[in-house]
Structures are given as C-alpha cells and as structure tokens.
C-alpha cells in the first residue's frame, strides 16, 4: 500500500473517485528516490489528515521554484485549503478540513502544475556580512572534511552567488536560499545540534540558510551574521519574502 498518490485518470472535479484499481485506498507506485531522479512526474503524498505535499520533479532551481510560487498562489485560493506553504521545489497545502475525496485535489494539483508558468517575484537585494568559522562556524571543518575543499575555497564559493529566497520555513523569518554551489554541499548532521544562536549561517545538503533565532539545527553551521529577520508586530512579520535576494559578504574568516 503506497503512500504516494497517483493521479486517478477518471477522477472528476466533483470528487467522484472512480478507479480501475480494486483497492479502496489510494494506490500507486512509489519512487524511492529524491524527485530529481524520478523523471518528469510530481510526487504527491499525504501528511496524515492535515496536509498534502506536492514535490516537483527535476532540478532544484529558480525556474522550478518560480512555478512552485505560481502553483502556491493558485492553490491557496482553493476550497478547503487553509494555507499553501512553498518549500524547496515543493508545496504543502494544509487543510481546513480533510477532503473526503483527496483524488480531486491530486488531480487539481497536477492540472495546475502543468499549467503553471514561472512567477517572477522580484524582491529586494540585501547584503549580509558574515563572520565565517571560529566559534560561530563550528561545523566548517566538517564541510572541509566532506568536500575536500579548503576553508578559503568554501568561503569563496559560499559568498559568491546572489541567492534567491525560495521560501521561508523552519522557524519565524528563516529563509531557505536557492543558488548554492553544489560543490560545498554537505549532508545534514546525524544528530541535530541544540542551542545554535540566531544569525547562524548553515549548509544542509545542497541548501544554505540563515537562522533567524536561537534553536536547534541539523545543518552544518559555518558562520554568523547580525540581522533581524522577524517582527511579529508588523502585518508582514518576516523581513524577507520569496523572490528577495541575498548576498553574503565576507566580514572575516576565523581559523
């Protein structure tokens, strides 16, 4: 019994779930790999009765992410959807109430994805000065060990791109950034580290981000920046939004 929801060809938008498959539950084949290996089809699964997760196929790139933004804007308006939450080339839809016929939602997501055009969200550009290494970058050596690159090479590769804010998540104001050089990718840690301060600049897998407040993290922390990312008193409480751009500048490297 697969948790991956396949599009049922006969599902209509009124929600009647006709299927050639004999089983009552939603069935389908599963792809055991990350979406970039799974060919052209999106991967849709349920998070209990609370939400549905849509994972776009293909590369984690700005093109895909812009289509995710478009999909999110559209899906947010659908009946019964509480919120559309973009992630890194994926979208979570939380439910007001769990739909009795999720097959309709699966079909709607597929249709909307096929039709989704890149949404260009041109935001502001902000430069964040970073202190790399030392006490603020306790895992820089782990990234060195994993990549085989030197501290200087890693810092150079990390601070070179103009990153796009793909999505917010993880904790209030935290930005998931796209555009990191895959050469400095390092896997998430086996055991998350507790008590990392706000402003921690980290690498997790092929992604990078900056924490907005103190807390635990399973990523590799390589540096620190001073910045206020969130103010709950504001109507739009986050400092950054998807489409904004961030450049890290090297304030100093502590060896």
């Amino acid at each position: 019994m697969s948790p991956i929801l396949e599009r049922v060809l006969d599902a209509t938008t009124t929600g009647a779930m006709t299927s050639k498959r004999p089983q009552q539950n939603l069935q389908g084949t599963v792809h055991l790999t990350t979406p970039s290996d799974s060919g052209e089809k999106p991967r849709i699964s349920l998070l209990g009765t609370s939400a549905m997760l849509f994972e776009a196929p293909g590369e984690l790139d700005l093109q895909t992410q812009r289509r995710i933004w478009a999909l999110g804007q559209r899906a947010a308006k659908w009946d019964g959807i509480r919120e559309a939450v973009p992630g890194m080339s994926n979208l979570m839809l939380t439910f007001d109430r769990p739909p009795r016929q999720p097959a309709s939602l699966v079909a709607a997501l597929h249709d909307a994805w096929e039709a989704a055009e890149e949404l260009s969200l041109e935001g502001k550009t902000v430069v964040l000065p970073v202190q790399y290494g030392g006490d603020f970058g306790p895992h820089l050596s782990d990234v060195v060990a994993h990549t085989g690159l030197s501290v200087d090479e890693i810092v150079a590769l990390h601070s070179e791109p103009l990153y796009t804010v793909y999505a917010l998540g993880s904790h209030p104001g935290y930005c998931y950034l796209g555009g990191m050089d895959p050469r400095i990718a390092a896997p998430r840690r086996k055991v998350p580290v507790l008590g990392l301060p706000g402003g921690a600049v980290s690498i997790g897998g092929v992604q990078t981000g900056v924490s907005a407040s103190a807390g635990p993290s399973g990523w590799n922390t390589i540096g620190h920046t001073d910045m206020s990312f969130f103010d709950p008193a504001r109507t739009n409480p986050a400092m950054f939004a998807p489409g904004d751009m961030i450049r890290f500048s090297v304030e100093r490297i502590v060896r």
Binding site: P35, P172, G173, P216
Partner: protein, 334 residues
Amino acid sequence: MIEVLSNAALATIQDQGRQGYLRYGVGTSGAMDRVALAIGNLMLGNPDDAAGIEIPLFPFRVRFTQDTAFALTGADCSARLGERPVLPWWTLQAKKDDVLTIGVPASGARCYLLLKGGVDVPVVLGSRSTQLRGEFGGFLGRQLKKGDVVQAAAVEPVHGETINDLAGFGITPPSWTLGELETSPVADPADTVVRVLPAGEYEAYEQDSIEAFWRESWKVTPQSDRYGYRLGGPVLVSKRPVEMRSHGIVPGVIQVPPSGQPIIQLRDAQPSGGYPKIGTVVEADLWRLAQARIGSKLRFVQTSYEEAVDAQDELDRYMTKLRNLVGLHRGTRP
C-alpha cells in the same frame, strides 16, 4: 486572575494554535492536548478560541487574586483548592486568595488550567499561543515564572452563588467515551496507541524496519517535549540514504533522522524539515499522544485515510455532543 507561585514548571499559555503563518516559518504552537483545552473552555462557557495554561511539569501552584471560576482538564493531577480536593475534568468557583495546588499526575502528562473568560494576553498573529522559538505570543513569549500574574478576560461578577456553584461539575474524560485503540499484537494496557498513516518515504525503509515500526512499543525518551517526541526502539534502516529537500511538515509527522530513531514532530516543531518521513500520526489522535508520559511507550496502528477522516468526524461529533450537554447544564443552573 492568578499569581504563579511555582517556578520552572514549563507552563505556557496556549490556545488552539496559530494558523496561517507557516509560510513565514511560524509553526502553529497551541495546546498539545487540544481536546482537553477545548473541553475546559466548554465547561466554563468560554469562547472556543480562549487561551488557557498548559502545565507539563508538576507540582504547580497558583493563587487566585480574585474570585473566579476555573476548570482543570487533562491528566488526573490530584489537585487541591486550599484543603479541598478538586476532581479531574472539573470546574468550580475559586475565591480570592484560594491556592490551587496541582500535584503529580497518577497518569497522563499534561493538564490544562482554564479561567472564566479565557487568559487575557495580547493576540499576536491571530493567536494567544506562545511561540517559544520566536519569543512572542502567550505570556511575553515565554514560559510562566514565579510571580507572574495572569489575567483573565473581564466577566460579569457572579451573584448569589449557591452551594451547587461552589461544588462545580465535571465531564467524563475523553478516553471514557472515545476509548482506547486496539492493535495487533495486543498492546500493553500502559502503552498509548495511536493511528498512523504512512508518509511519503514509507517505502524507502527496509521490510524489517517497517515491521518493527508497527510491532514495537516505542519508548518516549526524556528528550521529548512540545517540539517533538524522540522515540527509543529499533533502528529504522532505509534501503538507501534519503536526502530530502526542505518541505512543510505538520504536528504528527514522524521523521527518521540518520540515527534511525524516529521523532514525532509536535506543536512547537519547525514548520518545515528535510528528514525522511515514515508516517504521520492522525490529527484525531494527537490528544492521546499529548498524554503519553516520558518513559511510557507508544504503539502505532496503521490506518487508512478514510478511517482517519472518520476518526476526525467522530471527534467532532463528540465535541458537539459535549457542547450541547454542557450548554444545557449551564443554561439550567441558577
């Protein structure tokens, strides 16, 4: 109004949660046992979105600084108002200077103290729940400390209390109506059983691991709290390493970090994450999880989406019935 007399009890102000800000990285927070909170509010005739105090560590003492009605729900924590015992799942009238002592529960993990009118703290981003990571919401964005004075929303003073009002009334606990869930092999009576829907990466796991997931009694380790329950048991092994892209998650999602020991993400969890997910505890059973103590064990029972939605409907019907019952009773009281 109450004054907190205890320190370090990890007590926080919570309501049903902060919805609609996941896309800013703001998790829902809210009561771990939303059913207990809701029933407490019903008993007091409070609005559904009224906030209360979640108490996970004991003992906990407060002093009433004025006459007020209160309710105590959740774990049976041998409470006393002054010298008089307070029964579990009960509401009654406290007098100025009464001290409510909430003791160590015989069973269950958390209890909820509700005040007539609801806890009066500012609404931040649509909710009074405490956002601990972001340090906002609830009582100044933090846990309650000794000396804190927690206000309740102003209510009409009660006149002409009879002895009946002072003795209050109670509700049978949810487990009495909703029962305990069955599983095969049969669960130890002390274990908490919850229904789980397989999640996206379920089939990435070795067959042995999948069987262990459903069969084992998973221990709630001491590193378990509102952020998540870290479970102890057999190591879950995936067929190959799974490195996911960061994606949204909700309370109930069971992640498996590289250690192979599952973590059930809960109310203060990050709203997104990148560990593989083996399953999700259905929303209708999160209240059961909330009452599983540290050191106790969990059993997962596989359910279908349809059954899980039915369970949600059953819970809603139960709450509606209670609302009507309590409404009738409150309406007939002098």
